[in-house]
């Protein structure tokens, strides 16, 4: 029998990214593209937000795709099918705005490719013309290419080292693409590292194309109770967990976001080091 919060399947997508199917029928039933959950891996774990990268209400699972960075994500990365996540709560945040926009450029960078999958699917069912642009450091870092290609009208890949597709950042690719100006772009959606989203927004601003980004500030409760996730949008303070996570990128103060993402750098180092020491054998680093 499958239990609530149990990991059903695990896929090691790249060296750094793992993907889990987790049995969570209530959340799978409610989830919409753009929403996230808060997870605690263990009973003394921290609450970390993870996008619902995919969901299947018939089979009752949600997909969580995780980039191993610090203690919590590395700990999750070591979990195996059959094991239970200590807590999952959601779906949280506002769903993506999905309608027929026309020509939409959807950009995913790094682990940010995962959350664009459900968005692309939903846009596809609304008959949008989808131009997807995926970016990673190199070819091995790309995820979900097959699935995304399937729902895209145009499909582009960028790698920093040029090992596949366009050599360079997704923002550079976008600039070239827009300069060619062969079709009117009605909307851009960009999800990835804050710096990537910032770069994309500074380009689309010049072309006057509405751009939606998904912000990833540090969170605790995810329900609007703590204010840890404060971001500034159009010079107003917003709580990303309840007012977002998606916002109009041209209004976002990215420098503040980036600054706030670094609050716990020292503490995160301590936690990760301690974790690595205890798990040296398993982590082969």
């Amino acid at each position: 029998m499958v239990l609530e919060n149990q990991i059903i399947n695990k896929y090691n997508l790249t060296k750094e990214i793992v993907s889990f199917e987790v049995f969570s029928p209530t959340i799978a039933n409610k989830a919409k593209a753009g929403q996230f959950v808060i997870v605690r891996a263990s009973s003394n774990g921290e609450r970390i937000p993870l996008t619902i990268a995919d969901f299947n209400s018939t089979r009752g699972y949600i997909n969580l795709t995780i980039l191993k960075r610090g203690k919590s994500t590395n700990q999750l990365g070591l979990m195996e099918p059959g094991q239970l996540l200590n807590d999952i709560v959601g779906p949280l945040g506002k769903p993506s705005e999905i309608e027929k926009f026309g020509n939409v450029v959807v950009i995913g960078g790094g682990v940010g490719i995962a959350p664009i999958l459900p968005i692309i699917k939903s846009l596809h069912y609304e008959d949008n013309y989808i131009i997807s642009v995926l970016g990673a450091k190199s070819a091995e870092g790309l995820i979900f290419t097959k699935e995304i290609k399937q729902y895209s009208n145009e499909f582009h890949i960028c790698t920093d080292d040029g090992s596949l597709g366009f050599k360079g950042f997704v923002s550079e690719f976008l600039l070239n693409y827009l300069k060619k100006d062969n079709k009117k772009i009605n909307r851009v959606i960009a999800i990835g590292p804050a710096l990537m989203m910032k770069a994309v927004c500074s380009i689309t601003k010049n072309f006057n194309i509405k751009t939606i980004v998904s912000l990833n500030p540090i969170m605790v409760d995810g329900t609007g109770m703590c204010g840890s996730c404060r971001v500034e949008v159009a010079n107003q303070t917003k709580f990303a967990c309840v007012d977002g996570p998606e916002f109009d990128g041209h209004q976002v103060d990215f420098d503040l976001l980036i600054s706030r993402l670094n609050i716990y750098c020292n503490e995160e180092d301590i936690a990760l080091k301690k974790f690595m020491e205890n798990h040296k054998c398993k982590m082969n680093i």
Binding site: I27, N44, K71, V220, G224, C226, I263, I270
Partner: protein, 493 residues
């Protein structure tokens, strides 16, 4: 009795001091500050009670505990009976004895308090709750309806029963939010035989009692015990479930719940709305306290959640939340903690005892001072620009209104700022139920027994009153439990 002579009315017995950890010791740990009365101390304090014919103390208690009777039991060393007496009216005595603002409630109206210091009612209540050791577990008992259960409980004088296998009346009621209001209402309904499901957003039940009030004032073990008691009455607690997100209220009705009680508290932190408030190092009290209490950041890295520790911490506000934040900062190792409050000590809404504790521990009180701007450097807070205030005429709250003194701007150095200026109602639930009427502040509007504008839906506690007290929230939970029972039996809205 050996102490008989103390009972004579003429002789004044001073209020029995409670032993505490010494300030210089306790700021190095998160253990409880007050150690509680010993048996002798409790009995001694109980003898101060005048056993008034018209015990005014009872009127001062929002849930009207029969204070005189429970004190009489303590005097007779019948401690379990004392607890039983308290539990008739209050399911969380271990909590209330510790955190009630007694000086504004039971002890304010205590007759002894007219000429002398009032009886230490809260500390006696706490003693009775802590004394309870031999719990009265009753297993394998299978009555058929609530009356049978209630009669059984009465007949057996059960106060802390583990009646796991009671067959309930199969009428489902949903309670949203496992704070004091929700826990109390669930317990009361379960005792009446209802099948109660208590939905809680966080991964741990207790509401503010677990995420807000610190361990050194209210040990989490006490909260857990009281939650276990409510569970033992048959209440099912579903954690990690956010009503408004995981399910809506209408979905609860379609799942067969006959009535719903909203007890979601006042969880939305207010900020000052001044420049620099989103700098690194500026916390809401909710975040600061949640990281430390619920997430146990003081045990980092054994527990994963971090908190910023720094030499100078400034807390803005003057209530219990501000005091708790300031004292938490000391325990996290701050060398200097300043409490910046725009009025003076007399207007501080915090419990007198906690103000005293905070001062003993070395919190520096900066009164009549209001922040204007937060100044940063490299993204981190550095200073607060403040203005001096003076007190003018009383405002609508009856407290004297603070007014700025011109040309008194000055800067205060700080590494961390914790903003504790109040909380409002969290809109996550109410946004998805537009048919529930709210007031201008976003609180749910109800009648005297907690009925909202939506049929079958009740509300109570901080979500209705705005941030108040534990005992008032519990009182609301109790009133609503009776109102739900009546609504379900009569169908009248």
């Amino acid at each position: 009795m050996q102490n008989e002579h103390l009972n004579s009315k003429k002789e004044k017995i001073p209020r029995t001091k409670i032993s505490e950890q010494k300030p210089e010791e306790r700021i190095k740990n998160f253990n409880e500050v007050e150690l509680g009365y010993t048996e002798e101390e409790a009995v001694r304090e109980s003898m101060r009670c005048l056993m008034c014919k018209k015990p005014k103390c009872i009127e001062g208690c929002p849930v009207n505990i029969d204070i005189k009777s429970f004190i009489a039991y303590i005097k007779n060393k019948e401690f379990e009976k004392a607890l039983e007496k308290i539990r008739e009216k209050n399911a969380l005595p271990g909590v209330c004895g510790r955190v009630c603002p007694q000086e504004d409630q039971c002890e304010k109206t205590c007759i002894l308090g007219i000429k002398d210091q009032p009886v230490a009612i809260g500390k006696l209540e706490r003693f009775a709750a802590d004394y309870e050791k031999n719990k009265n577990y009753v297993k394998n008992y299978k009555p058929n309806n609530s009356d049978e259960v209630n009669n059984f409980i009465k007949a057996n004088k059960i106060t802390n029963s583990n009646i796991e296998s009671i067959r309930f009346n199969n009428i489902k009621v949903a309670v949203i939010g496992a704070g004091p209001a929700g826990l109390t209402c669930s317990g009361e309904l379960a005792k009446m035989g209802y099948k109660v499901t208590l939905f809680e957003a966080l991964h741990s039940p207790g509401g503010v009692l677990v995420y807000g009030i610190p361990e050194f004032r209210l040990p989490k073990k006490i909260v857990n015990d009281e939650v276990e008691y409510v569970k033992s009455l048959g209440v099912e607690i579903k954690l990690n479930t956010i009503i408004g997100k995981t399910f809506t209220i209408d979905e609860l009705f379609s799942k067969g719940y006959k009535s719903v009680f909203i007890a979601t508290g006042a969880g939305l932190p207010y900020f000052l709305g001044i420049k620099g408030e989103n700098l690194n190092g500026v916390y809401s009290a909710n975040e600061y306290l949640t990281r430390v209490n619920l997430m146990k950041a003081y045990l980092f890295p054994e527990w994963d959640t971090p908190i910023k520790k720094a030499d100078i911490v400034s807390v803005i506000g003057g209530g219990n939340v501000a005091l708790d934040s300031a004292r938490t900062a000391l325990r996290l190792g701050a060398k200097k903690v300043k409490l910046i409050y725009r009025r003076s000590e007399a207007e501080m809404p915090g419990r007198i005892e906690e103000i005293k504790h905070a001062k003993e521990e070395g919190v520096e009180m900066v009164y009549l001072t209001n922040p204007l701007e937060i100044i940063g450097e490299n993204g981190w807070v550095k200073k607060i620009k403040c203005i001096r205030m003076q007190l003018g005429e009383p405002d609508e709250s009856g407290r004297r209104r603070p007014l700025p003194i011109t040309n008194s701007e000055h800067e205060i150095d700080t590494d961390i700022i914790v903003i504790a200026i109040g909380q409002g109602p969290n809109p996550v639930l109410t946004q998805t139920s537009p048919d529930i009427m709210l007031n201008k502040k976003g609180n749910i509007v109800t009648d005297a027994v907690g009925k909202t504008s939506k049929k079958g839906v009740f509300a109570g506690g901080d979500i209705v009153t705005g941030a108040a007290t534990v005992i008032l929230a519990m009182g609301a939970g109790k009133i609503v439990a009776n109102a739900i029972d009546e609504y379900i039996k009569t169908g009248i809205w």
